[in-house]
């Protein structure tokens, strides 16, 4: 098959002072008609930069230094800005990662899709509207007529991404670039969007350049794969070939980091409960002035769970399932409306505010965002020592403790004088863990501790959690949307949907013989499920 888009020796320079001289160096790639080519890599690999370079939407100070980008016989690297504008949207269209922010919040969906026709064609208003509506029907958005008049905030994440796809496909482009289009979505929505892209691609014959960090997604939809590392294309080939017999060491490492979907053999833990939730409920009421706009959200409904001492309980659910509210209830950051939360023998609700603060050291939290959860103006060591100092430890011993903890979580103890921005994402999450451990908690609540991290870093952080659990006898509540994360470290799992626990039990049982319909659909939606299962059953021979 002939190539529609071919990139030849593309080199993109970074501004002086960046961590490397080139964002991309001598990348040569070919996108053929009617295929889905997945470009895979971790953050900083240059995969998104490749997409931006094709459309010449590079950030300021970043420029193409050498190479050609041939599209329909024209070199895009040398095209004028006006020529590029004619190609953007019409010849090559793009969809982005974050459907929430990629649409203008102040204009209706219909208007934003119609804009494609207004820019590139002379169609009248009625015809534009008709086509926009047809596009929305094509991407199976529920109630397309209503969606035409809706503003982005009135749609769910999946619906917004469907609208984005409809917009990108408006002018039947030859090439569609999809930059991590499903990363921000829930797993069931992700499965639907992937199926939609696959279906539309087959129907329309569009060539798709699909950028992702997730080998599960690759296994799901790719015809061919290109793997990138530090701006260099290290391997490319047929999807089955690359997945089964990766040649380059980096590809092998990436594929090895893909978590298997089978639970490890059950571990022994105490039968004594360290944390017990009994009928916990939390309802958010949005009352407001003059009793207007009353909204009632039953975030958590009658949840009863037990965390045994030394065990790990995974709470799995999609966005809006109430799992984060439940975590906040456990931490007593929000007060549950009903139910009892017992830490050991203590009923947390019965404590006075002062006692509650004192008991805070028994249960600590690790947050999702390693960038946002550390104060950027304070040194890493101080952030870790702050907890013990608040609870009465002198500064000297607290800093010494911080140093020990740094060593414990695998960071250089000398790094306590550095600021958070001097650490990488994975290192920052280690600081977050050190901070939580500083008070010797009995229970650690980890709210999506790895979802902002690259796959290989994810594996390291999860391994660290498992080690710490064994070494310190910690009990962990792990909140995650990703079943693949849960299966790696959890002993018990509870699946939440609309505030309720629909199924819970030992992780091996829930994964192998799910009882509830929703659990089954969650498991079926995991991208590259067959690949992951096959991998779990017969591990690849590692080099």
């Amino acid at each position: 098959m002939s190539a529609i888009l071919s990139i030849e020796g593309l080199t993109v320079g970074l501004p002086k002072g960046a961590d490397r001289p080139h964002a991309l160096s001598r990348v040569t790639l070919e996108l053929r008609a009617g295929e889905i080519l997945c470009v895979v890599g971790e953050s900083g690999s240059g995969k998104s930069m490749t997409a931006s370079a094709i459309l010449r939407l590079l950030p300021p100070n970043v420029a193409i230094e050498a190479g050609r980008i041939l599209f329909e016989g024209k070199d895009l690297a040398a095209a004028t800005e006006a020529e590029m504008r004619a190609i953007r949207g019409a010849g090559i269209a793009m969809i982005f990662q974050e459907p929430m922010t990629a649409l203008n919040p102040l204009r209706t969906i219909g208007d934003q899709i119609g804009e494609m026709f207004r820019i590139h064609t002379d169609l009248g208003r009625a015809e534009t509207d008709k086509r926009a509506l047809a596009l929305l029907e094509d991407v199976h958005i529920p109630d397309p007529k209503l969606a035409m008049r809706a503003y982005p905030h009135e749609l769910s994440g999946g619906q917004r991404q469907r609208a984005m796809i409809a917009m990108a496909l408006a002018l039947s482009p030859r090439v569609l670039i999809a930059d991590e289009p499903t990363t921000a979505l829930d797993v069931t929505t992700q499965a639907q969007i992937l199926a939609l892209i696959r279906d539309l691609q087959r129907r329309l014959g569009t060539a798709v350049l699909f950028i992702t960090h997730d080998f599960g997604v690759v296994a799901e939809i790719a015809d061919r794969v290109a793997v990138m590392q530090h701006g260099i294309l290290v391997e490319q080939g047929e999807a089955a070939e690359v997945l089964q017999r990766p040649q380059h060491a980096y590809t092998q490492a990436l594929i090895a980091a893909v978590p298997p979907l089978t639970a490890p053999p059950p571990r022994a833990f105490s039968s004594e409960a360290i944390l017990r939730l009994e009928g916990v409920s939390k309802t958010y009421r949005n009352g407001g002035f003059f009793g207007r706009g009353k909204r009632v959200t039953r975030a958590v409904r009658d949840v009863s769970l037990v965390l045994p001492r030394g065990g790990t309980l995974g709470i799995v659910g999609e966005s809006g399932s109430g799992k984060s509210t439940l975590a906040r209830c456990i931490m007593h950051l929000v007060k549950p409306d009903a139910g009892v939360i017992r830490l050991g023998d203590t009923d947390l609700a019965s404590l006075s505010p002062a006692q509650l603060r004192a008991s805070a050291k028994r249960i600590q939290m690790v947050f999702q965002d390693p960038y946002g959860s550390l104060n950027p103006r304070r040194r890493a060591g101080e952030l870790v020592a702050q907890g013990p100092m608040v609870h009465g430890m002198a500064r000297g011993p607290a800093m010494a403790r911080a140093r020990e903890l740094f060593a414990l979580v695998g960071l250089d103890p000398a790094a306590i004088d550095r600021f958070p921005h001097e650490f990488s994402g994975g290192q920052r999450q280690r600081i977050g863990i050190a901070r939580a451990l500083a008070l010797d908690p009995e229970v650690l609540v980890a709210d999506e501790p790895v979802s902002a991290l690259d796959v290989s870093v994810q594996a390291q952080v999860l391994k660290l959690l498992a080690e710490l659990r064994a070494r310190l006898g910690l009990s962990i509540v792990l909140i995650t949307h990703d079943l693949r994360v849960a299966v790696q470290v959890c002993d018990l799992v509870a699946v939440m949907k609309d505030g309720e626990v629909v199924e819970h039990g030992p992780i091996g049982r829930v994964f192998e013989a799910p009882e509830h319909e929703y659990t089954r659909s969650l498991l079926a939606s995991v991208p590259g499920r067959d690949f992951a299962l096959a991998k779990g059953a017969a591990p690849l021979s590692r080099v």
Partner: protein, 327 residues
Amino acid sequence: MRILSLAGRRLAASLPSLLIILIGVFLLLQLAPGDTVDALLAQMGGGGDAATTAELRRFYGLDVSVPVQLGNYLWRLVRLDLGFSAIYGKPVSTVILERLPATLLLMSASLSFAFFFGLLFGVIAARRVNGWQDSVISTLGLLFYATPSFWFGLMAIVLFSVHLQWLPAGGMESIGEGFTGFTRVMDIASHFVLPTLTLGLIFLAIYLRIMRASMLEVLTLDFVRTARAKGLDETRIITRHVLRNAMLPMVTLIGLQAGTMLGGSVVVESVFSLPGLGRLAYEAVVQRDLNTLLGIVFISALLVIAVNFLVDLLYARLDPRIAREGS
């Protein structure tokens, strides 16, 4: 409908603040030494025996306790009666109505001027960020912001009225010329050019800085990249996608600054001897004319509430997310 109910709620919510303002000012003025009668007697050349003073106090309702005075005042206000000005010898509402047009004209002209040019220069500065246009605009903005408005006014009079003799130095219109129709409009307009510029320049400087900053922020957002990927040219990206989003902070600021602008008009009205509310307020304070002062506070508060109300409506119109939150 959503917008209307939102508007109704905002109006209802502003009533308590109006009441608090009035009571606060009333009590504050009680703390000042002397009352209307003292000022009146001083104006008449002092003296006056105890009996006359008591008689006058009874006439103006100043002989009862403070809470009763306040109650009386509020009760009259409910019946839309602003009381009688002892100093001017006419009802307060008449006094204020005579002065209101000048202030309204000055405020709306300055606001439109500051809004329009602040927007324009802010957009230009953001489009050419760190270029010479940006430097010139930002420097001028800083200059306008740092210069006191009375000095601006005086210098403008020196230059345009005294030296160049292009524009009148003060007053609201030429007296005794008997202009009518269009000539009169042009005459008033020429009288308002300098005051408008003087009052508006500071606000222009603020708006242009806000506009520049929010334009730069919006330009980095994802949907701008989407618009580029659709093949829009830069002009249309600005007009169709960036401008409306970037205007939101500026619109908020207008509502917040309506009060400041009213305060600033005291100085400008004094410099250009415009018969406006600001100067009236100043005179009322000096003469202890409690009724007039309270009337002005009442009307000013109404003005600020009205401006904020309009801004809320505009905001709900500009940003569909607001109207939804309220309902």
